[in-house]
Amino acid sequence: MSGPIIHTKKINRRQFVNRLALSGAGVGLLSYSAIRLTGWQPATNTIRVTSHNLDQKAHLIRKASAVNSPGGSPEVAIEEKVDVAIIGAGISGLTVGYHLKKSGYENFKIFEMNTSAGGNSDYFSSADGKGSWGAHYLPIIRNDDPILKKFLIDQGIIVGEKDNLPIYNEEYLCLDPHERLLVRGHWQDSLIPDYGLDSESARQISEFHKLTSEFKNKKGRDGKSVFSIPVDDSSQDPEFLKLDQMSFKEFLDQKKWNSEAIQWYANYACQDDFGTSFENTSAWAGLHYFSARNGKAANTEEQSVVTWPEGNGFLSEALQKSIKDKIQLNSSVQNIEKTAIGFKIRIQDLSIGSMKIVEARKVIYCLPRFTASYVINNATKPEAAQYYPWLIAHVAVKRNCLEKNHHLSWDTVKFLEKDLGYINNHHQYLTQDKDDVLITFYYAFTEGTAKENRTKLSTWTEATVKDFVVQHLKKYHPDIESNMASIDYRILGHGMISPSIDFLWSKRKQQLPREQNGILFAHSDMSGISIFEEAFHQGYKTFLKLKESL
């Protein structure tokens, strides 16, 4: 081979090593000075991660059910007597109490396992702000719902009326800007995918909206709204009920609405409202989400919502206000036994660990329905009821890193992502923005069975959760990790009931009776859809029934 002649000057090994060492030292010095100059330190921000899980408490019920088989437990003296015992201080339980008190009835108590009331409307509070542990908004209500309307008027949420339409308190209506969606690196101002959409996808979305808005005012042959809230007020016309026998995805596929955009959007909606995928949500329930909220208001557009920094914690506090003295927190109900004159309720005080027996003439069971078989002897197990787990994380973060390319909105979501995005909990503040903010990240674990997900999540540590949250939020804001101060999270093993295929209009009716062994059941589970309005109506309906016997 003849190559170009290379003119070389030989150096020996020692010289080479010396020169190498010298240059190495030079590079080292340079890097060192660079590091010193920038004041760079590895991992300066440590993110505080705190779990607020309820698992330990929740599992007490289950353990107790094994110990407290009828007659098997040591007898504890009856400590308290109360006429009506309400089990669970979620929205349904609080609604029963609220109306009992309003009607002048005082002889009742509400027993709650948690350290605060509210159930899925419980909220987190710290120096960084407040944030919901679950439900965080209420859509403006249907105009055919005088009972809920009355409550909203009493609470100053509806402040007047104009042209027969309610005027909502402007401070509570979701302030502008409402929402933003990150679509392929571009921010758009609505959650409905629009940016860069091909004409076919756009056509499918507009057809879908046309159908759902037609359904908003459609009535069945029995004269009732096809989709109503509460669900039990919906038309029983079989033409529409049959939609409950297929999945929402199948429904969309049948309509040939198969674009990535429409399917993501429908799936996102199901996960956000029902905690389950659109493959696992019935078409009836999926359409209910889009078509049942047909409320109109004088001072805002349809589809608006009212919301607060603490989410529906505001509504739960409103229900609690007049009955604070009736609520016993830290009270885990472990067994309910029927007696000749009523019921014996075995309750553990979780703050001190002691047991007590409460005797009640009436029991209203306002916990998720799946817990009943652990607590009530002979209670049926609602096998068809599915509950997927959730992760909710409140993240304190610098506002600046969320606003680099687009103004921060109330709700932020990313197109085609599996997570549900995040809410800005400072959004409803009337005060000027500060440089830090508290956001709440939501994730519903809907792939695979609920049980598989629960098993997986039971092994998650604070470190796992941190990585998970950071990894997801980085897709929205690449530099978020270095701007985070803390993560406060809660994993809900049973997030909410899912209106799965054939559940609402068949299995629900069979497996979730409203009354069993003389105990009345009131919980949004009884509606099959976990929203404030349903829980409220379940509570109210049960109150009416109870009133007859008082």
Binding site: M1, I6, R19, V27, E171, G185, D433, P478
Partner: protein
């Protein structure tokens, strides 16, 4: 010597893979869908390397020379790749074109490298050994890069610094080659200079990558920045030249000492001089104390309450000599009470009434400030006004932002006030607007003004209430918390004006 070449193969391979990962990561950050981004970036990069390898056959002379040049170029392109991509994301029409151009250039250069090293070494090492060693080092470098990138580099250095650091390493290899092969690279003083300058530029980039924002900030102002401070709410910045002093909040000019009286006199006197013996005055915003200075010209005024969000702002206007010379120490006057708090919260939670209320907030440039221009806010001010009291609101430019101006007037009216809009010419700002509002009593222009005003008098005042056709009223929406109509008008109008 040969060992050095293998060492440089190792460095070169590491750097090459790092740039590929940096660009891939940026692409997936900025464009989303990491699978697509990474695979297209990797594909393009490998293809570019192929192009580079092909091109390397044309290099037959001055091999070491070319190698050094290629190293420096890779160092520069690779080193600046992250900065260029991040900085240009908002400024180029086709970000993808830029992205793939960057990856093509780096890829081609890296593709030239290895064949070049092999050609340099082919006469020194047995071919069999050469191929095996070069590729071993190449692959080891790749392994190191792919492990270090996610585990060490991104978490500790971030993307921008990582690319600068590896740019420095590339240029470092060039420099070492120059040192070790003095003989072969004789007569290449320019190359030494080039590589040293490149190394310095990259080092500066590495060191100052996080301070680039401040460089651009200084560059944005014509005058010397004499004070700048970020508070929880805003960035306060003051500039000075021999003739004037200017205050900027979040980059928006608030006043120039040269003509601020043309703003503050109409803001205060047009309303206040029309009241008979005003006693209590409320100022919301206006932490510079300039409106307070004007109010203090009324002997009947007993109390002035100034509510400003930012304690840093009122503090510096209380203590700095340059600034107190301007506001005549108004903020430390015994009649003045300074309260640092949020105006909306204050208006909702207190009940004190005032004869004259001055609302002097920054323009509604964002949704947060927009809340202070809503119907809800003005309604909450109504309860702070005495029966015959007046409210005045600074209302941006009716010339530049005609809809915004009339939106503010309309919103005040919707909150239950009678409104009296007017405007003046302020050289630093252009045409500027205000709205006087009363609850019940009609507003009448003042018959007399405090002595020694520089701008406002009865004749000037007459003109102020006359709106020529290009600023005349037009129908607009009322600004509410749940529509933020004003911020949208404002953004739209000022964007058209400045671009």
């Amino acid at each position: 010597m040969n060992l050095f070449y293998f060492f440089s193969v190792f460095i070169v391979a590491t750097c090459g893979l790092i740039y590929e990962l940096v660009v891939g990561a940026i692409a997936s950050y900025l464009l989303g869908d990491s699978v697509t981004q990474f695979s297209t970036v990797i594909g393009t990069y490998l293809f570019a390397m192929g192009v580079g390898s092909f091109l390397s056959k044309f290099v037959t002379k001055r091999l070491v020379h070319t190698f050094i040049k290629v190293e420096i170029l890779i160092g520069l392109f690779g080193g600046f790749s992250a900065t260029i991509l991040f900085a240009m994301f908002d400024h180029v029409s086709s970000f993808r074109t830029l992205l793939y151009s960057v990856i093509m250039i780096i890829g081609i250069l890296v593709g030239v490298e290895i064949p070049l090293v092999m050609k340099i070494l082919k006469d020194r090492i047995e071919f069999n050994k050469l191929v095996s060693h070069v590729f071993s080092f190449d692959y080891i470098g790749a392994l190191l890069a792919s492990l270090a990138f996610p585990l060490i580099l991104v978490p500790y250095l971030g993307l921008i610094r990582t690319s600068f650091l590896f740019g420095m390493l590339n240029v470092g290899v060039a420099l070492m080659t120059l040192i070790l092969f003095k003989g072969e690279t004789r007569g290449s003083r320019s190359l030494v200079g080039f590589s040293i300058i490149s190394l310095l530029v990259l080092t500066v980039g590495f060191v100052f990558s996080e301070r680039i924002t401040q460089f651009t900030e200084q560059m944005a102002y014509n005058d010397q920045v004499i004070y700048s401070h970020s508070t929880h709410y805003q960035r306060i910045l003051i500039t000075k030249n021999p003739h004037e002093l200017k205050l900027f909040l979040n980059g928006n000019l608030q006043f120039s000492s040269r003509d601020e009286y043309r703003y503050h006199e109409p803001l205060v006197h047009t309303g206040l001089a029309s009241l008979k013996d005003p006693k209590k005055v409320l100022i919301l915003g206006g932490g510079d104390g300039l409106a307070v200075r004007e109010v203090l010209k009324y002997p009947s005024v007993e109390k002035i309450l100034l509510v400003d969000l930012d304690d840093k702002m009122t503090q510096i206007f209380k203590t700095n000599d340059l600034l107190t010379a301007l506001n005549q120490k108004s903020l430390t006057n015994p009649k003045v009470e300074v309260l640092n708090g949020d105006a909306f919260e204050w208006a909702k939670s207190t009940f004190e009434k005032f004869d004259f209320v001055i609302v002097d907030f920054p323009d509604p440039t964002n949704f947060s400030l927009g809340k202070l221009y809503t119907q809800k806010f003005y309604a909450s001010l109504a309860s702070h006004l005495t029966e015959n009291g007046l409210l005045v609101v600074q209302s941006t430019s009716p010339f530049v932002a005609r809809k915004s101006f009339w939106c503010i007037a309309e919103t005040i009216q919707a909150a239950g006030f009678k409104t009296y809009p007017y405007h003046v010419y302020v050289p630093s700002f252009g045409e500027w607007g205000f709205v006087i509002a009363s609850l019940d009593k009609d507003y009448k222009q003042p018959e007399s003004y405090p002595a020694d005003l520089k701008f406002v008098n009865a004749k000037v005042s007459d003109d102020m209430f006359n709106f020529p056709p290009d600023m005349a009223y037009l129908k607009v929406d009322v600004n509410k918390l749940n529509n933020q109509a004003l911020v949208k008008y404002f953004e739209d109008e000022w964007a058209h004006y400045t671009h």
